[in-house]
Symmetry: C2
Subunit: 337 residues, 2 copies
DNA sequence: CTGTTAGCGCGTTCAA
DNA sequence: TTGAACGCGCTAACAG
């Protein structure tokens, strides 16, 4: 690892190789019209000088950087992590590089500041396109193509990859009712987000499909976090006629349910069945392993990458909105009644 | 979310406001020598046009971007995730933005390609400085300040934040021997990495400190992954005089130990004590919760940020190498013999 | 096949 | 206090 005073430019290379800058540029960009001799010579000099073209200058000039941006509200959650993994995998296949952008923690910057921030990224010719993970506010003007993952409104004006939250929740409910459960508790997610409301709807629809009347007492408010699920679970368990199963709006909440159940001396699944939603990396490590709905978060990331790349190439998108199917993953946290 | 045909430049703003580009530039950079009237006027136009200065152009001109780079070998592991979290937190406090750079998966690009890739980031005036997470090869020439996290050699020529692997391993061993364990199995990490060797050394030193002779049979080779620890654990448990405790080189390996133990019908900690290393996000969700050595991975990220920022400001570093202390975190996977 | 030249969008002199 | 002109490092015409 050496440091040098000044970065070597294309001009330095041209001079050292005894050619013009444009020739060097051609070599750099793999144009065909360069003689074998000069090619060799220039490449040799480039290696010797350790020259690498400036991303900024190149981007500014050619309006093309081969870099994709990923804008996320945070990098704290395993959800973000899953998206990152999927995006990264897709990026690796294509000839693109990845820049992950987050504006620090969400409570520090106000949203106006954030907005300007993202726009500067997109309009700054540093990325060719970007993937935005909701719930980042995404109502700004941009020149680069954008794809939103899990947008926070039902009919986004922008290409998006969305989870089929309601259907997924119904799958969970069907599994539970097929197992014979009739008293099923539900812990909601952050109700300011669409996903949480859709899952709640799926819960209700699942109940209806099984011919079970809705009992409002069985619906408790959470916010997708572990801790937010503990008290709701206690409430549920304290009911005169407590549920035999609890459907947590996401895997994190399910962990909270596990905790509250352990605290109450209940065994899972013997005394209480638990089902989650997300199928995060972690859920398999839980004891007992969590039965959950896989919403293929990483795949959503990969698909979003494919979509922006198509947009960048100027191709038309086969479908503006990609709906990601969900799948029930049966593990060990539920049992028949 | 609107798209506009062409990005609005400083020139457009100047024209619309009836001033020159340099005046707009002054407003943008908060220079004092602008009259109140023009200031107001220009700011109004900027807002109306939704103008944001181009990152690329600005960076190219001023050689300052207020963006930090984080270069990671992968974004798959929870280790990377922990670093990312720490870096992000530190970034949020300072007036810097973060760009996370990874070159896709590691087996796709050869290392030369990677190297060029990283250098282009650093010399491309897109970041002011960078943090490199080993084991990325970091022997390249760069103009921007660099700090390495967990470098893969003992005396890095570059500022670095390093974990005290050997001491941490000794802490684990002392805890185990204090608990009365004499037969302690060890599962190594990836022995091509320095960290794994240091932890192995700590294991041996811990044995020596407790006056326990080294039994080579008790040392099994792993590679830091979950699956790599399963077979070694089986070997250990199949020994004529099996260990009463297993020290896994990292938390992932410890999960492998859990699996193999469950498979063998052994309860943790009743039949087998297990201790890990890292204190990853996950270890607390394991059942039983994993006793481990916290090496403060996120904090390493934060400190690295502080270091690069100082370097960028041209300040001297109080210490070239920051050694991160480790701490024993006692949970529920070990018990006295 | 190769060199010359004109900007890309911005910050920064230097005059006015 | 403001504006004109130059150059950052590079690519893309256009000549030769």
């Amino acid at each position: 690892m050496k440091r040098q005073r000044k970065s070597v430019t294309i001009y330095d290379v041209a001079q050292a190789a005894g050619v013009s800058v444009s020739t060097v540029s051609r070599v750099l960009n793999g144009k065909a019209d360069v003689s074998e001799d000069t090619l060799q010579q220039v490449q040799k000099v480039i290696k010797e000088l350790g020259f690498v073209s400036s991303l900024a200058a190149r981007g500014m000039r050619s309006h093309r950087t081969n870099v994709l941006g990923l804008i996320m509200p945070d990098v704290e959650s395993l959800y973000s992590f899953a998206v990152l993994r999927g995006v990264n995998q897709a990026i690796a296949q294509l000839h693109y590089d990845l820049i992950v952008y987050t504006s620090g923690d969400s409570f520090h910057n106000d949203s106006a500041e954030k907005e300007a921030y993202f726009v500067s990224l997109l309009n700054g010719n540093v990325v060719d396109g970007a993937i935005v993970v909701a719930p980042v506010a995404a109502n700004f003007t941009t020149t680069a193509p954008l794809v939103i993952i899990d947008p926070n409104n039902l009919s986004p004006e922008c290409p998006a990859v969305i989870a089929t939250n309601q259907v997924g929740a119904m799958q969970a409910m069907q599994y539970l009712t097929d197992l014979g459960h009739r008293r099923i508790g539900f812990i909601t997610g952050r109700l300011d987000l669409v996903s949480a409301n859709r899952r709640l709807q799926g819960y209700k629809d699942g109940l209806a499909a099984a011919g079970i009347p809705l009992d409002e007492q069985l619906i408790q408010i959470g916010d997708y976090s572990i801790s937010s699920a503990v008290a709701p679970t206690r409430n549920l368990l304290a009911l005169p006629d407590p549920p035999t199963a609890i459907f947590a709006s996401n895997d994190m909440s399910a962990i909270g349910v596990y905790r509250a159940a352990e605290e109450a001396g209940l065994r899972i699944p013997e005394d209480l069945s638990v089902i989650g939603f997300d199928n995060l990396h972690d859920s398999v490590y839980l004891n007992p392993a969590l039965t959950t709905i896989d919403q293929f978060i990483s795949e959503m990331g990969s698909i979003a990458v494919d979509m922006v790349v198509q947009l960048i190439k100027g191709e038309a998108l086969p479908k503006h909105i990609h709906k990601m199917p969900t799948q029930l993953v049966i593990r060990k946290s539920c049992r028949p009644i």
